[in-house]
Amino acid sequence: MTYSVLVAEDEPNIVLSLQFLMKQAGFSVRVAEDGDRAIREIEQQLPDAVLLDIMLPKRDGFSVCEAIKGNPAWSSIKVIILTAKSREIDKQRALGLGADAYITKPFSTRDLVARVSELLQPNEQ
């Protein structure tokens, strides 16, 4: 089966690169440019993973993460935080909210793809 990934990111060039990387890894990709839209996309159809920026317009990544992990119907969605916020305190906060991974920008493309794949297909390793 094909896993679906939602990219929640407002920086166009980063969206472009993530879209390219996820498609190449064999996932289907949807894009949300702000936090509200990310939630709406999830409501429409549950993705298997979300690549979530924190500094999103309208509704920030922390709040989106909390909404996902706080909802029993959604909590199986893997949340990968992808942010320029490099402080430990932000990382702890995100993990505390139930995020599955915390990756700081700029990231290594290989590591990112490996990490997402690992979260989606743990037994196939």
Binding site: S17, F20, K85, S86, K105, F107, T109
Partner: protein, 905 residues
């Protein structure tokens, strides 16, 4: 009755008085005080009842009925309701060893010499009419008695071949000298005198009651019969209170007598100075009013009987007490009545003359002698004989003044009227004393002014008219005023009419007195000594002032050392003056090598208290006395250290205030630093994020291209383009961050010159021309080419225009964008407006668009991505040019960014 008998009885009576006084003093010496009991004290206060009461009340009652009563109403009110004033005065007299009313007032206002002298002069002049009244009554009664067969004998009967009144004056002067100035008392209490005066109060009471009983029950058969007869002869107006009588004067007389019982020099002397125990006042509070009541019971009956007995004849009602018994042939009763009148008169004259002579000596003559250096205190030995001489000379002078006034004025005045003139003079002391008791702000100049003004008004409105009515001054002085000026009429000053003479005088004198006292006190600054004394008087009940217990000092310090010691704190001159004044008050001589007694030590302590606070003063005096083994040098060293410590502590106080201020500033600075710190933190993390974003794209596409997997040529081209653009963005960002940091830190190199606005704007537009054309944006220029130069850095001003126009390019409509650039003179110099036809600025963003890293995400994807610093830099630049930059929305809804730069001068 034989003149010899009367003379003999008179002198026998005076002899008895003398014996009583002698006995009283002996008892006091043996420590078995006769006068230290509340009844004697009350009777001694009854010196208030003079011959004026004894004869004058009946005279007044015979003329105007109940008008005699207010004179006794006032004292009753004071004792029953207002005894707290008297208690406070008594306490102060004890604590400060006050010897007279002059001493009291001068001590209260900083031990002021001028004030003491003025009070003395007012007291002497004010008492003179009163003394003359006593002389008149004694002489008249004496003449009446020896002219037994003929009550209508002229008053100036001439049994001795000279004026009887003069003889009486001389006799009383001798008696007063014998009585009061035999030796200088070591304490302020004169037990013999008090005992004699108390005895006199009993004699006059019984004499008056005897006459009253005789009239009521001998002549008439009881009060019922008496008043029936009075009614039958139409005398009811004497005792029926009706609207026909003028009771307006009652208030005046009550007020006057209230002042008199407190402030007549002899009353002050008897009730305050001679008081032995404050608790005696509790008895006096009811007993004295009772005494007044009893002595007044028979006033009306005697008056009525006199009116009835002498109906139709011109008999002097002032003498009814004597002439009624004579009329009914009661010679012994008449003699007793005469003795009663004599006792009333002598008690007043003796106490008044002694009190006044003490004042004249202590507050007038001695200070002058010292001031004029006629007495050298440090050399001359025993001064007590000098003091006695001064008092002995002043007594006859005072009595002769009274006689003089009698000759001038008392012919035309009744006893009561003369007495009231004196009362009004005594009332002048009220503001200074009562003010001084309850108001710390009263000053010596204020008291001097008030007393002087009040006294002058009294002279003008009461004393001088009494001379005029006797023919010693022209009568038209009263009717037409001084120099014929109507406003200066002594009985209608400044056109004030409708009052009786007394109320008129009291009103104006009190107006001037109180007004002068309060206004001058409020306008002036208090000297330290005035402040200290004010505190000691007003807060006399405050035990922390430590006046009383300091008396217990016993020590072996010489006076000279003590004075030197005090001088170290208050200055040698003030120490000298203070010690001399103290010596004069206490009637002893200062000898430097003598051991200072406890009083002097207490005095030194109170002087020291003024300079360094009572606690320290106490410690210093205490250490001086107790530390026998401590040498004087050590004490002085201690004192110098103390002075230094005081100075040091004052400096510390200042320093501590400064420190507090500094610490407050430090706290504020620290708070701001913390704020800066967190701002810096935010700034750094924001920069970090802003740098990471383009880096992320660059690295991601770089790695994608590096892997080379499954990328088409087209994609590769696109990704390389992105990498280039993001690199440019990164460069721009770094440049702008550096610029902004420099500007904010004030380390930017500005090259300011006079810059032509139009060419600068055109230059900036040329730089963005490519971008404008690329997006098919229509540029509308509206430049005023005649604008003067502005003061600016040319390159930076170009940068501002580029940044703002770039912003407009990003946010105008796409396609069909329009940008308008205009320049014209504004309120504060050059005004440039750059507007676009985009969708404008959201209201919630308007305040923030000039903040660092504020970025609207609504920009077109086709545009170079902004750094979020462009407008922040513009604001820094414009504010350096002392201009303004702001944002708004235009009429078409697009954004308008405007800035102003002042023209070059």
């Amino acid at each position: 009755m034989q003149g010899g008998v009367v003379v003999g009885v008179s002198f026998a009576y005076l002899g008895i008085l003398f014996a009583i006084a002698y006995y009283g003093e002996k008892r006091a010496e043996q420590g078995r005080s006769l006068t230290n009991n509340p009844y004697i004290y009350t009777l001694s206060i009854a010196v208030y009842c003079t011959s004026w009461t004894f004869y004058g009340s009946v005279g007044r009652a015979a003329k105007t009925g109940l008008d005699f009563l207010p004179i006794y109403l006032g004292p009753t009110l004071v004792f029953v309701v207002w005894s707290m004033v008297l208690i406070k005065i008594i306490r102060i007299c004890k604590v400060h060893r006050i010897t007279s009313i002059a001493d009291f007032i001068s001590s209260r206002y900083g031990k002021n010499f001028a004030l003491g002298s003025l009070v003395t002069i007012i007291a002497v002049i004010g008492t003179t009419p009163y003394i003359s009244l006593q002389l008149k009554s004694i002489a008249t009664s004496f003449n009446l008695l020896i002219g037994f067969q003929n009550p209508e004998l002229p008053i100036y009967g001439n049994p001795f071949g000279i004026d009887t009144t003069l003889v009486v004056a001389i006799a009383l002067a001798l008696f007063a000298i014998l009585f009061g100035t035999r030796h200088i008392e070591s304490s302020e209490h004169h037990e013999g005198l008090v005992a004699a005066i108390a005895f006199e109060s009993l004699v006059k009471l019984f004499a008056f009651l005897a006459v009253g009983f005789f009239v009521t029950f001998g002549v008439f058969s009881g009060f019922g019969d008496l008043f029936y007869q009075a009614q039958a002869h139409g005398l009811t107006q004497l005792y029926v209170v009706s609207a026909d009588n003028d009771y307006g004067q009652w208030i005046t007389m009550t007020l006057l007598s209230m002042a008199a019982i407190l402030f007549l020099p002899r009353q002050f002397y008897m009730s305050a100075v001679e008081n032995r125990d404050e608790t005696h006042l509790r008895t006096a509070a009811w007993l004295f009013p009772l005494y007044l009541l009893v002595i007044n019971v028979f006033v009306l009956p005697i008056a009525i009987s006199g009116k009835l007995a002498f109906a139709g004849t011109a008999n002097d009602a002032d003498m009814f007490v004597l002439t009624v018994p004579i009329h009914y042939g009661q010679s012994e009763l008449a003699l007793f009545a005469y003795i009663g009148g004599l006792s009333a008169a002598t008690s007043m004259v003796i106490v008044a003359s002694i009190a006044l002579s003490t004042m004249v000596c202590n507050n007038l003559v001695m200070p002058l002698l010292l001031r004029w250096k006629l007495v050298n205190l440090s050399e001359s030995g025993d001064l007590s004989s000098l003091l006695l001489t001064i008092r002995r000379v002043s007594i006859p002078i005072i009595l002769l003044l009274g006689y003089g006034y009698f000759r001038i004025a008392s012919e035309s005045y009744s006893l009561v009227t003369i007495g009231l003139v004196s009362f009004t003079a005594a009332a002048q002391f009220a503001p200074a004393i009562i003010g001084g008791l309850f108001w710390r702000g009263g000053s010596s100049t204020g008291a001097l002014t008030g007393l002087s003004l009040g006294f002058l008004v009294w002279l003008y409105t009461l004393l001088l008219p009494s001379f005029a009515q006797s023919g010693w001054l022209p009568l038209n002085f009263i009717s037409d005023g001084l120099f014929g000026i109507a406003w200066l009429k002594p009985y209608a000053l400044f056109g004030l009419e409708g009052f009786d003479n007394l109320s008129h005088a009291l009103f104006w004198s009190m107006f001037a007195n109180i007004g002068g006292y309060v206004v001058v006190s409020l306008r002036g600054e208090l000297s330290p000594i005035e402040r200290i004394q004010g505190r000691h008087f007003v807060d006399v009940y405050d035990d922390t002032l430590g006046q009383n217990d300091s008396r217990s000092w016993q020590g072996s310090v010489t006076i000279a050392s003590l004075q030197e010691l005090v001088g170290r704190f208050v200055g040698p001159e003030r120490a000298q003056n203070g010690f001399l004044a103290y010596a004069a008050r206490q009637n002893f001589t200062l000898k430097g090598d003598e051991i200072a007694d406890s009083n002097l030590l207490a005095n030194a302590e109170s002087m020291l208290s003024g300079a360094i606070g009572s606690a320290t003063a106490r410690v210093i005096i205490g250490s001086m006395i107790k530390g026998e083994n401590v040498s004087m040098n050590e004490v002085y060293q201690l004192l110098d250290e103390t002075t230094q410590v005081i100075e040091y502590s004052r400096m510390l106080e200042v320093k501590s205030a400064e420190l507090e201020e500094t610490s407050l500033k430090l706290q504020q600075a620290n708070k701001r630093l913390k704020e800066f710190d967190s701002l810096k933190d935010d700034f750094l993390s924001t920069i970090s994020r802003e740098l990471r974003t383009p880096l992320t794209s660059i690295r991601a596409f770089g790695e994608i291209l590096l892997e080379g997997q499954n990328t088409s040529d087209k994609e590769r081209q696109q990704f390389l383009g992105i990498i280039t653009k993001e690199s440019e963005r990164l460069t721009r960002l770094i440049d702008q961050i550096l610029d902004l940091a420099k500007m904010e830190a004030g380390r930017m190199d500005w090259s300011m010159s006079n810059v032509d606005p139009t060419s600068t704007i055109e230059e900036a537009l040329a730089a963005v021309d490519g971008l404008i054309k690329e997006h098919n944006i229509k540029l509308i220029l509206d430049l005023d080419k005649s604008l003067p130069a502005v003061r600016a850095d040319h390159d930076q001003l170009v940068q501002v225009v580029i940044n703002v126009v770039s912003n407009a390019i990003k946010f105008c409509n796409h396609p069909g964008g329009i940008i308008r650039v205009s320049s014209r003179p504004g309120d504060n110099g050059l005004l440039v407006e750059i507007s676009d036809n985009g969708s404008g600025i959201l209201p919630e963003h308007r305040d923030f668009i000039f903040e660092k890293f504020h970025q609207s995400r609504r920009g077109s994807n086709q545009m170079p991505i902004g750094t979020g610093l462009g407008l922040a830099i513009c604001r820094q630049i414009i504010s350096f040019f002392e201009g303004n930059i702001w944002a708004d929305n235009g009429e078409d809804g697009g954004a308008v960014i405007s800035f102003e730069v002042p023209f070059a001068r």
